[in-house]
Symmetry: C2
């Protein structure tokens, strides 16, 4: 997608063919800065510190992390160690495990001397596939948005966290339908949940939409319920970090509250995700591990001072503890449907199996 | 309540008997600073700028504002102008109208020369009455907490915004039962919603609880639903800015989302409020005016830098708009009960009339 009019992906192979470049998402929306990853440790750090985040992008970054590991040492032991280190970076998004399994499958059977080239090829395929998946999600989801439109007035869409192109390689999951419908001329407006404590909505979703000229308004996470009761939201859509086989949706903390409000007001709530986010091994969402992140993310916040510098401030009383669960699970009963690269289905085992019959 | 061990109210008559002192709540939790109000304009500014906030405290501050106006000019015209200016400061809390009506009733029938003394006396009575109301709410609510306790483990209570002593003259509404039960020895722990965008939970509730040694943990507003699903919340309680005659509860933006989650998980949700918060003129909550505050409250945040200074930072992309509705309405069907100075009732017309039969 475009940044100051120029097309970017969130991750790409550097000109030297030996390293990977990313956009440092911890600096947005204040500073647009690229970072070069030259080792598996750097890739693991980028995921853990959330320089890259979003389930699909975490997966692709991990795939490139395997390439960087093999460039140093292409042995079985190095492959195992790299996969273990990368898998441990973040617990909730299942795309990470998917990407590492795909990389291992592509390189493990080969003699070490052939692994490097195969790894770069496979990681590139995974990145390109992610773009195609998101484009397809955009097309299927845009049809839902057109169907929900009511005459001339802009369709009012609420989203939580960032499931835009910054969360994937390009296009996004929840935002792909919005970009697609916007480019097709559908009048729409996006309510952007701030998404405390890391503010991915205020920092990333708002920035993306601003760059692309999509009308939007940032609101505190608390506001969505009121907006829905007041008839000011027509459609809710988010991404997901892991969908269980029964359609339960794990996503950024706070998603469950918006799904409750949508259900209470008869507003559709969809989750948009590629097949790499579906965890067929889990019968329901209660078994999904919920990452507990640092309390500092609640107590400290970074922004621009009036003289344009970045500053980090403490907002809690010194001595008050904080807790920071990063995800929650929305039961399938609150999810109107799932939008995947294959189409739209009910959030249920039967719905998912209808789109993925090979999993029967 | 205590600040560094010393007892304070949130508002009191200064030693000169001619002005009023308040705690500047916009500076908490970083700086504890008193401000002297010497004119009705200063009182109106204190309410509008949220140096004082919380429905009961807004009412008492307005009452003292009338005293300050009459000290300058005790005419009918001055009384009218003062009441009009004070009533316009904030639209949602009905306690403001209650206090101004009470002041007018006390002074308007008197000749101007007798109004000043009567005004100070009546405002003092309103302040003292607020303390008694909150103490009674604390006693009734504490019984609910004891009844909800399960053996030795601390009772897990979630609250939203600040309805503590800082929101009233002393004790608080939602926090009064917590302080009372804590002093009675009930083991408890409070989950404190940060309460974006003005962070009254993180800034004020956490600070109050810390000062009083009540165990607590601050969480992002997004976290409460997850904590409830995970069985980590036993009881929800908030204050209210206005309760309609049918029991609908208007309170800080985001309360509705927590009430939905409590209902979805079979957890009781109570609102605690004095009779001055009940608006018998409104059949239901949909007619309550919802204050729309400045977008700057969403986009800018103040905290302490690492060198101990206060700094304000911008957190949105330059160019992204924000919206800031300050309250929402929780339908009575989601409210387990109302705790008032007279006891606990169902959130319904019949429930309220049971406690206030003189309103039949």
């Amino acid at each position: 997608m475009r940044v100051d009019g120029k097309a970017f992906r969130t991750i790409w192979v550097a000109d030297d063919g030996q390293s990977v470049e990313i956009i440092d998402q911890t600096r947005l929306p204040h500073v647009f800065e690229k970072v070069t990853l030259s080792s598996v440790a750097a890739a693991a750090h980028a995921i853990r510190s959330m320089q890259v985040r979003g389930a699909p992008l975490i997966g692709v970054t991990a795939a490139y992390g395997v390439c960087l590991a093999l460039a140093e040492d292409a042995s079985d032991a190095a492959l195992d160690a790299a996969c273990e280190a990368l898998l441990a970076t973040r617990p909730t998004a299942v795309n990470l495990r998917f990407a590492l399994d795909a990389m291992r499958e592509a390189v493990a059977p080969l003699p070490p001397a052939e692994r490097r080239e195969a790894a770069w090829r496979r990681a590139g395929e995974l990145a390109d596939e992610d773009v195609r998946l998101c484009q397809a999600i955009g097309e299927h989801g845009a049809k839902l948005l057109h169907a929900a439109a009511k005459g001339e007035a802009p369709l009012q869409i609420l989203t939580h966290c960032n499931a835009g192109w910054l969360a994937t390689v390009d296009w996004g999951t929840a935002l792909a339908p919005i970009y697609t419908a916007h480019e097709q001329g559908l009048p729409l407006h996006v309510w952007v949940d701030e998404t405390r404590p890391r503010n991915q909505g205020a920092s990333l979703t708002a920035w993306e939409l601003l760059q692309h000229g999509v009308p939007h308004t940032v609101v505190a996470d608390n506001a969505g319920g009121h907006l829905m009761r007041a008839g000011r939201v027509d459609f809710c859509i988010t991404g997901s970090d892991r969908v269980a086989a029964n359609g339960d949706v794990c996503n950024k903390i706070g998603t469950y509250l918006k799904a409750l409000a949508a259900a209470d007001n008869g507003i559709p709530y969809y989750a948009a995700l590629p097949y790499t986010t579906i965890d067929w091994t889990l019968a329901d969402g209660d078994a999904i591990p919920i990452e507990e992140r640092s309390a500092d993310e609640v107590g400290r916040i970074t922004g621009r001072t009036d003289d344009g510098k970045l500053a980090t401030v403490d907002i809690l009383p010194a001595g008050s503890p904080a807790a920071n669960p990063a995800f929650d699970v929305t039961p399938a009963r609150l999810v109107t449907g799932l939008v995947t690269e294959r189409g739209v289905c009910e959030a249920s085992r039967e719905g998912l199996l209808g789109l993925y019959p090979e999993r029967r």
